[in-house]
Amino acid sequence: MIASKTQAAKPKVGFYGFTGCAGDLLAILHCEDELLDIFNAVDVRSFLMASSEVHDDEELDVAFVEGSITTDHQLESLADIRKRSKVLVALGSCACFGGPQTARLGYGDWKERFKKVYGNTKHTVAKPFESRPLDEHVKVDYYIPGCPIDRYQFFFALTRLAQGMSVELTTFPVCAECKWNENECLLLKAQLCLGPVTAGGCDSRCPSHNLPCIGCWGPAAEANVASEIDLLKERNFSAEEIVSKLRLFGGAAMVRRFADLLGIKAEVPARRPRPKKVREPVVAGKAKKKSPSKRPAAKSRAKKR
């Protein structure tokens, strides 16, 4: 077992954050009761929010990366982290799917949108581009979704990785856990709930507080978005409202998988080219197909029911 007493034998782990609210890293730091155990289980080499002492020139066993990628500088850092890490884990919805900042992916030209908000700004620090999740740039081995992540799912992933095992997180929809918690179905009460198309593992937190699911854990493994849209339309929600909700947290995953259903097929931009600085680049998105435990990129509904 890796949990040996010597520091040297512990897996080396780094925590990183890009564009996002840092809520996932904060969620980990908020685990006051478990924090010592976390730092005891693994050798944390980099966690800027926790300690200014970082070792960012070392090889890592596992890198946990929060946030989406929005500038060339971030892309270089991500490529560097990828190169140094045996396993790269996307932490939180922004890293997994792009987050709300990716909600408009494929909605017209990004440059025009940028200009509309910022005017003719000169980029002095870093060159920005349209926000994308990590796997549009580098290979991602595991996805821990959530806005923010659930601490128990994080512990589960951390302990599995620390013991050299694969990580299988919940892929079935929120509805199952919602039933376990014996909530009244909000869809049946004609609310715009995304539970059936959203990955579970959150313990149906929002519906348990009588709030409809907003899809912050991203699309479930086999989300039947077409049926969900029909169902919501039957409950008199407008197509615009439904698509907007689906895209808010669905990000790139929602756009890539269900563009035709969202009515944006013609406008979806191609994946970004790989960063030039990666010496041995990995084709973006390929990781998804290897194992079902890694949040599989389901093919379009038409092919597979």
Binding site: M1, F155, L158, T159, T171, F172, A176, K179, E184, R305
Partner: protein
């Protein structure tokens, strides 16, 4: 089995006296629905409740529970919530559901987690008048002849109370003064009349004879694809079904990496992962295949093996599925009638 009478006005007093045996649980309101909850106040019990959101299987196979704690050299079974309990207000269909689970979990390969919880629990049945989602008459699970410790049948100002086990007899003796043994001819007449009234209220009536044959013939029916287009694969139907009993197991390590728990949680054959095996092979990858499996199990395979469907007609799938896929619609579809999705 003997029959007794209890005055309606004495019910709460009797329920209160049951607490000396163990925790008292019964249906309580949950919004517009019902859920089994611990009855701190016996007057909270919702006597009008028909179906709870999830069935009483939750008492014997909780949605999530820890089987045992493990460390590097040993394991300890926890049995966290095993304690004497009285479940009051279980309707006949749900009692049949428990009898089906008993066959699966107690007969050939007893499941210790189920067994311990089952043995610690008294089942107190309660009669009901069906609504438009009940179809227990079609599945012949609308009445009980066993599977309970006590069964209460509402009859005007009284309950007829059947004693179904020696534990039931003990429970009556907790407050025996409340019960009367004097059954009169008029009571028999009233009871038969009540049964006729109950039977006449079923709006969903299906002839399920020969269902395995029909299912076999329908193997390639386009019905499955039509349902699959609509199905959300959310698994809610399995969660609310009194006889669905599949589960998944996972080990959750403590952060010390030296100990942890083995957790069991409900699973559903509607989940894509369900039939996933090594090498990323999935022998029921298509949603239509999974729907077919679910209903084949309810209406064909179980009948072939156990002589009765594994649907007890409780109506929970009718009440739950957001896209109206349920056992009644599937039976209609299989019998060549129009399906309303």
């Amino acid at each position: 089995m003997k029959a007794l009478k209890l005055k309606k006005e004495d019910l709460y007093t009797y329920l209160e006296s049951l607490k000396s045996y163990g925790e008292l649980w019964g249906p309580v309101s949950r919004g517009e629905h019902y859920s089994y909850a611990k009855l701190a106040n016996v007057r909270d019990v919702a006597l009008q409740a028909l179906r709870t959101i999830i069935p009483p299987k939750k008492f014997f196979v909780p949605p999530r529970f820890n089987m045992f704690r493990y460390s590097e050299d040993q394991y300890t079974e926890t049995f966290e919530d095993v304690k004497p309990r009285v479940l009051f207000g279980i309707h006949p269909c749900d009692i049949h559901g428990l009898m089906i689970l008993d066959e699966l979990f107690l007969d050939r390969f007893p499941d210790p987690y189920y067994k311990k919880r089952r043995e610690a629990t008294a089942i107190l049945g309660l009669s009901c008048i069906p609504d438009d989602k009940c179809m227990a008459r079609s599945t012949n699970t609308h009445a009980v002849e066993g599977g309970f410790d006590l069964a209460f049948n509402e009859l005007g100002e009284e309950y007829l109370v059947w004693v179904g086990s020696s534990l039931g007899d003990d429970l009556v003796r907790l407050n025996i003064d409340l019960f009367s043994e004097e059954i009169e001819t008029s009571d028999v007449q009233k009871y038969l009349e009540w049964r006729r009234k109950r039977d006449s209220r079923y709006k969903l009536n299906f002839d399920l004879t020969g269902m395995p044959d029909i299912m076999e013939l329908s193997w390639d029916s386009p019905l499955w694809d039509e349902l699959a287009d609509r199905c959300l694969s959310c698994g809610s139907c399995s969660m609310v079904c009194p006889t669905c009993n599949c589960y998944n197991i996972r080990d959750i390590s403590d952060l010390s990496l030296e100990s942890g728990v083995r957790q069991r949680r409900w699973d559903s054959c509607m989940n894509k992962e369900y039939a996933l095996v090594a090498g990323v092979h999935n022998f029921r990858e298509a949603r239509a295949e999974r729907l077919k499996l679910y209903y084949t199990h309810k209406l064909k395979a179980f009948i072939t093996e156990y002589g009765r469907p594994s649907c007890v007609g409780c109506g929970r799938c009718i009440d739950t599925c957001p896209v109206s896929i349920n056992v009644a619609e599937v039976i209609r579809g299989l019998k060549g009638q129009e399906v309303k999705l």
